[in-house]
């Protein structure tokens, strides 16, 4: 069964450093999302991406964040200058069609900012 994959599974970085989190969505999916989950809290939406552009973003997704689909398979989330409060699990999700289908989540990347 096709699944969303994410790398790395765990990323440790120093405050102020840039990180890139990578996702490979399910191959025939068209809509892509990033969510984050701070330990013990709910899953929060960051951004949605369709047709090579951001379609929606939350207040969390400020200028320090960016997304990119550099090729036909990868979908990346970049945090330019990490802060301590960016420490969380980051989940990528993909969806075949927005109107009818659910979002399938990857296993997540645990980001730890020291």
């Amino acid at each position: 069964e096709p699944e969303v994959t994410q790398t790395p599974s765990h990323q440790v970085t120093q405050m102020g450093q840039e990180v890139i989190l990578r996702c490979v969505p399910i191959s025939n999916h068209l809509y892509f999302y990033w969510y984050r989950q701070i330990l013990g809290q709910k899953v929060e939406f960051l951004v949605s991406f369709y047709n090579n552009e951001i379609s929606e973003k939350s207040e969390i997704f400020d200028d320090q964040f960016s997304v990119e689909r550099p090729d036909g398979s990868n979908f990346t989330l970049k945090i330019r200058s990490t802060k301590l409060e960016d420490s969380a699990m980051y989940f990528c999700a993909s969806q075949r069609q927005a109107s009818t289908d659910t979002q399938y989540f990857g296993p997540g990347t645990r980001l730890t900012v020291l």
């Binding site: 969303v4 809509y31 999302y33 969510y35 809290q41 709910k42 899953v43 929060e44 939406f45 949605s48 379609s55 929606e56 939350s58 989940f91 999700a93 927005a98 109107s99 659910t102 979002q103 399938y104 989540f105 990857g106 296993p107 997540g108």
Partner: protein
């Protein structure tokens, strides 16, 4: 502003019992209501989902009950098993938009 409110925060059920988790929403534009199951260190996995044109959906031991007028929906797990112990999130979305998640319910099923 919390778009989706979920309760209880935690739930302990005996094996074989019924687990019930409730969610309420405000936005009448929401038209898709999934439930996700999450095990520690894993991503949320879709369990079951419903659209507001039906009041109930059943898949195996899992049932969603949906009350459109009350803007509430609930997950019922029949014959709960220790393997069901996980965190359950309800979510809601309007077509094509982000999912709004509830705060999660930690379910423990005691053998």
């Amino acid at each position: 502003q919390q778009q989706v409110k979920q309760s209880p925060q935690s739930l302990i059920v005996q094996k074989g019992g019924i687990s019930i988790i409730n969610c309420a929403y405000e936005n009448t534009a929401f038209d898709y209501f999934p439930w996700y199951q999450q095990f520690p260190g894993k991503g949320p996995a879709l369990l079951i989902a419903i659209r507001p044109d039906v009041s109930e959906k059943k898949e195996g031991r899992f049932t969603i009950s949906f009350n459109k007028s009350a803007k509430q929906f609930s997950l019922h797990i029949m014959d709960s098993q220790p393997g069901d112990s996980a965190t359950y999130f309800c979510a809601a979305s309007a077509t094509g938009n982000q999912f709004y998640f509830g705060t999660g319910t930690s379910l423990t099923v005691i053998p």
